[in-house]
Each structure stands twice: as structure tokens, then as C-alpha cells.
């Protein structure tokens, strides 16, 4: 009986381990409108156990849709920009990395943001400088939301 238990334990553990070795990726839902939302959602269930189980399926939860846009209807909409769903979405999903790039004056997220705003290449250095020096007026408080950030950006920049 004991032998059987040992063998069974070995088999189960082995299968779990085999399972844990193959590729996986966990898709995140993206909701919320402030700093840390994206990462928080992503790490909400980042336990090793879950990852181990997920491994066999490259699993994702629920029915991830084939949406081209995920929508930002939960968030307050910015006033000073023409209603641009793609821009709003980008802002919500990338606010943390964008804040970092603005503070550092450069970066890929900032480049993408400028492209969405259609800031011409020759004006970007100036634009980035305005955002960097206006950092404190853009990100006014830790709980600042997407709409305010967008509106503040339009205030501090000539764009």
C-alpha cells in the first residue's frame, strides 16, 4: 500500500512537472484608469501554483475577444483632445511607462504617444522637453486619472 502511494505520488508530481515545462502566457484584462492599474491586474494571480497549472495550456482566462479596441468607457474621457479611442486606450494601458519616459525625456512609450498625437518628428524634442519640465503639472497626484493627465498634457504643451 505504501509502495503504491509512493509510486502514485511520483507519477502525479512528475506529470505536474512535465506540465509545467511547456510554454505559457497569461493574458490580462485591462481595466482601470490610473497608475499601476495595468501591472496590478497582471500580477493579481501570479502565484507559482497557478503558473504551473497554466503551463499545459498556454492558458488564458475567460473568453478573450477578438476586439480591435478594448474600450475605455469605464474611465472619464479627456476634454481637450478630440475623442480618440485609440489614444485613450494607449494612455490607460501605458500610463506608468509613459510617466517614466516623460520624466526621463525619452523612450519608446513616449515616441509611440507622440506618434499617436501626430507630433511631427522635428517637433518632438521640443514637445518632450515641455512634458518633462511640466511633469509635476501633468501628474498632479498619485491617484491621477487618465482624463486629467491628457488634459494636463494639452495645457503644458504647445501641441
Amino acid at each position: 500500500m505504501k509502495k503504491l502511494a509512493v509510486v502514485a505520488a511520483v507519477v502525479v508530481v512528475t506529470l505536474v512537472l512535465v506540465g509545467s515545462a511547456f510554454a505559457a502566457g497569461q493574458a490580462q484584462t485591462n481595466t482601470g484608469c490610473g497608475l499601476g492599474t495595468m501591472l496590478f491586474k497582471g500580477s493579481a494571480d501570479n502565484s507559482v501554483l497557478l503558473q504551473t497549472f497554466q503551463a499545459t495550456t498556454n492558458g488564458i482566462y475567460g473568453n478573450q475577444t477578438f476586439g480591435i479596441t478594448t474600450g475605455t468607457s469605464d474611465c472619464q474621457q479627456p476634454k481637450n483632445f478630440a475623442n480618440n479611442e485609440r489614444l485613450n486606450e494607449f494612455m490607460v494601458a501605458n500610463m506608468d511607462n509613459l510617466a517614466r519616459d516623460i520624466a526621463q525625456g525619452r523612450g519608446e512609450t513616449l515616441d509611440a504617444f507622440a506618434e499617436l498625437l501626430q507630433v511631427p518628428a522635428e517637433k518632438r524634442t521640443e514637445f518632450y522637453g515641455q512634458l518633462q519640465s511640466g511633469f509635476a503639472r501633468i501628474f498632479t497626484s498619485p491617484g491621477v486619472q487618465m482624463a486629467s493627465v491628457m488634459d494636463n498634457i494639452s495645457t503644458v504643451s504647445t501641441k
Binding site: V10, G19, A21, G25, G42, T57, F66, I68, A99
Partner: protein, 657 residues
Amino acid sequence: MASRSRVFFSQRLTQACRTLRSACFFICLLLCASFPAGSAAAADGPSDAYLGELQRLAREKGLARARTWEVLLHYKPAGSGIKSLVDDPRFFNAPDGSRNPEAELFATLAAFFQEGVKEDEEHPRCRFIARYTWLHEQLSIDEQRLPKASCAKFEKALAAVNPRSVVLVFPNTLINLPSSMFGHTLLRINTQYESDLLSHAVNYAAITGDSLGLFYVFKGIFGFYHGRFSNLPYYEKVQEYNDLEHRDIWEYHLNLTPDEAYRVFLHIWEMKEFYANYYFFDQNCSFNLLFLIEAGRPSLRLTDEFYGKIHFWVIPVDTVRAAKKFGIIERVTYRPSRATKILRIASDMDSGLKDMSKAIVRGERKPASVLTEDLTVEQKREVLDLAAELTQSRFSGRKLEQELYQKQFLDVLAARSILGTPPADPYPIATPTPPDQGHLSSRVRTGGGYRTGSWFTELEWRPAYHDITDLDEGYVRGAQINFMDMSFRYYFDEDKLRLHRWHVIDIVSFSPWNGIFKPISWKVNAGVEELLLADGKEHPVPRLNAGGGLTAGVGDTGRAYLLAEADLNASTRLDKDYALGFGGTAGLMTNLTKDWKMNLWAQGLFYSAGDEHRSLAAGLQQNLRFTTNTSLSLDVKREQTFNIYKTDIVMRGNWYY
């Protein structure tokens, strides 16, 4: 109505028979035999005549046997016939469409004549847009003679995605994330934007629902989940892999033309609603992506590199190699993970500066106080840039509450924003060897040697993937995943072939402490192994071994490790049929030259339950590389078990294939 209930019935049938595929096939055959193949529209009329004309023309041109049709329907040889790998019955217009390409072609043409659609439903011409586009070209279909159909949803998606080119994306493995070990692949569709972040990521994954249970793993392996494609902004995937999971990303830019990229998109659209059963060994994420690339350029036979081969598994990096073999990789770009960036920033800083960053991250120091320190502006930037990355990393690792994170992150950035912009990227990261350029995934080795008292020859086969004695280029240093590794030995004095070792799984993670990250090192190993027992002979023993500990970096390539471990052996030859022991392993692995690697190790195990005994061993492993895929290894080992001493010397030639 009849066709609708038929579809429904066959759908139920498919679900019921999923485990009994052959039986299901038989029943389906019976079922389908009672319906004529390619049933055209019932009503007589001019459209009926046109349909007949198109079907005749399609038959004349042999379109049902065309390569493009095979690709679009995912047909593969099965027994004496063919079968589609798509399991969703709704993917087919003909009841026997999954096995009969011509019936499917005729029924698809018939479906294009469908009058009107229900609300929230797409017309077959839109749903099967890739098939329609191709047949339209091949048959010069006159749209005026078809009923009207508008593909508003598709047009909107096409405008949003605007496909220009295609990139095969490979997020690398991260050894301490068990689920990432073999990597993963997804496809990126570049749009009109210059920024890669604004492109679209197409991912294939199993839909698992929320429940985790005992059978989760079994379901994943044996095809009980449905695999589907999904589409996300690329920045979400970059955040997931680079920022959250700390995995480097490799981007293989394919030379597909804009028109071919458009065809890839058409096929993605066509696949979006349908599932194929997800089998994690073979019909997995990486395999299914290859169909998308084939849809762009049907002359590429990428899936045939894997399908029906003795190799029944598909390792993500091997799909990259297949793409390379067909000459479609134009260039490679590297997207370092947050961890890589953090270590790069820290590499320029002395410990005093790093301590400043760490104090900020722990909340013990105000970020603004750095500004008044007696430091150069570059140093101040480094301190705050490192603090910003570490703050994000701590938050995503759930070591920081969201409110604290928001405040600390903004305080760091506000201080940093005062320090201006460096003229160029201050932390450029050199591109390491891309994963496709490492040794190939499978290994055969043969050799021979001496074990106290007898000479032997040995043959070993390891289907996948990398161990700590293999040279590391293209792999993660200190990471080992051996899967189904088995070896046989022939001892001359016994004249007998013996199973020497069969490691179902053998994983080692030696990731070093580096002053920033403090990862746990661990190993786990399960299988059957020949062990020296009390009778002085070797016997195959089922064995489970696991341990945890720490690793320190030694120079650029060295890793010194120390692990505590537990070892469980089960055999009727053992007293009480088992032995459970505890002990540890210590060692040092390092490159002596670029092509010469060694691992010096010692292990002690003290079995205190079951058959009580002691096993001590020490050894040196060396591996000398001649080419990427050939090497010579020499292993020496001395052990004392049940107070019996044995010495092993083995020399082997290694071939990676």
C-alpha cells in the same frame, strides 16, 4: 433548418466523442453518408445556375487540391485520406468538410450565395473572407451575380489593423518561471505606425476558464481545451513579458510583402471564431501560428516541418528555426526585459549609488534628497532611473501596495524630471546570441567508459532541450530542462544492455544573487535511474529528487551553487521498499574558454527513512564544443554508497539535431 440541426448534432457528437476519436470518425462517416456532399442552394434560379458554373470551373481547375485550399482549411494527411486540424464543426460549410476538400469547396461556394444574414452575424463571404478572396481571384467571381453582402465588421478591423508586415515574436524563457521554460511564440502584425508598440499581437492560446483542478494538466496535454486566436495591442504583450514576467523578447522580422501580410490578416479573421483542440505537445501555440504564415505565402511548408514527424512535440524556438530554414527571416531585434534593463543600469553604478536607489525603493529615503547630493547629474539620473524601474518591479511583484506604489513612483519621477535628458540612450544594451543560433533542441550522445570493474559503451537520447553542461549561447545560463532524457549502457563483462537512466523531467535553475534580485535556485528531477544498492550492483530505481538553495555569480560565466535537497527512491530491492534521504549539493559551473565548459560538483545524501544508508559522490563534467551542434564531453565521478566505492569515467560525442 435541416442543415442547422445537423451542425448542432455533429457539434454535440464531436464533444461527446472527443476521447474516442476513431469511433467518432466512424459515426460521422455514417452520418455524413446520408447527406449529399456539397449540397447547393435548394431554390432554382439564376444564382443557382451561376453557382453550378463556378463549381464546374473550380473542379476543372482542380482548386480543391490546390495548396492554398489545403492551407486555408488546415488539411493534413490522415491515414489514407486527409483531415483538417480544425475541430470546430462550424469552420466547415459541408458536413464532411473536415475530410473532403472538394465537398467543402462546393459548399463554401454555395454559402457565398446565402441571401441575407441574421443580426449580429456575418455573411459567409465575410466570415470566410480568406477563402472568398482566393476563390474570387481563381474563379473571377462576378460579385454582381451574388446576393449583396456587407462586411462592415471586417472592414473596420482591417482599417484598424492595416497590415503591412509580419513579425514572429519569441518571448524567451525565464528559468524561475516554470510555465515559461520552453518559451512561447506569437505573431505581430505591423501597421502603418512607426512605433512597434502600436502594432497588433496575435496570440494562440487555450481557453481554460477559471477553474483549476486536478485534471487541468491532463486536459491541457490531451486536447480537452479549445485553442483560439486572439488579438491584442502589442504593448500589452510587451508589458506582460518584458515588464511583468521579466522575459527578454526576440522579434524575427519576416519578409512577407504587404499583400502577403494582408492575406495573413484575412486568415486570422477567418480563424477568429473557431477552435482547434489544444494539445500542448504538438498542436500548441507555436504550431498553429505557422498556419497563419502559410496563409500569407502558401508555398511555405512550415507546418510540414513538424506535422507527422517522429518528433511529436513542437518547441517554440524550433518554429523560428523552421522559418529561418525557409529563408523568410529578414532580421532580428532584441527587446530586453525590465530585469535586463535594471541590471544594465546598475552595472554602471558603485555600491553607494545602488544603496541610494534601494533606500528610496524601501521608502527610507525621499527621492528629492538625491538632487542635493554631491554627485554628477549622470549619477543622479542613474540613482533615480534605477529607483523608478525597481519601484515598478516591486509593485508588479506584489511587494508594494498600489497606493504606496503610485506615490513613490511619482515622487521618484518628479525628482528625475528636473535632471534633463541625456543626448543618447544612457543604457544601451548589447544584443546577445539569438535563441535560434544556439545548439539544436534534441541531443544524441554515444560514448564509452569504465565503471569500477567493467568497461561499457553508452547511448543516450534527449528529445529536449538544454542542460548545464551544454554551451549556453542562445539559452539562459544556469537553466537546465532535460525532458525524457534516456540512456542505455552495455557492460562488456555482463554482455547485457541495461537502461541506465530515464529522466522524465530534470530541471535545474541556478540564477544568481546579484545585489538587486535575490532569486531562489532549485532543481527537480523525476524518473528512473540505475543506483548502486547494498548488493554492490546497479539496479534501476524510480527516483524523485528536489532541492532548493542559492547561487552566486563568479565572473561572467561562473555560477557557484549550494542546494539542500530531498531524495526518494522506490524499489523492492530496498529494505522496506523505499529510501527517503536528505542532504545537499554544492558545485561550480563555469566556462573555461568560449567553447569549453565545466561543472565541478559534490553531493551528500543521508537516507534516514526506509532503507537507511548514506550516499556520497563528487565529480567533474566537461564539455568541449567543436561546432554549434557537435561537442565532446568527459565526465569523471567517484561515489561511495552503502560503503561501496565506485569510480566512473565516461567520454561521449554529442550531436545536437
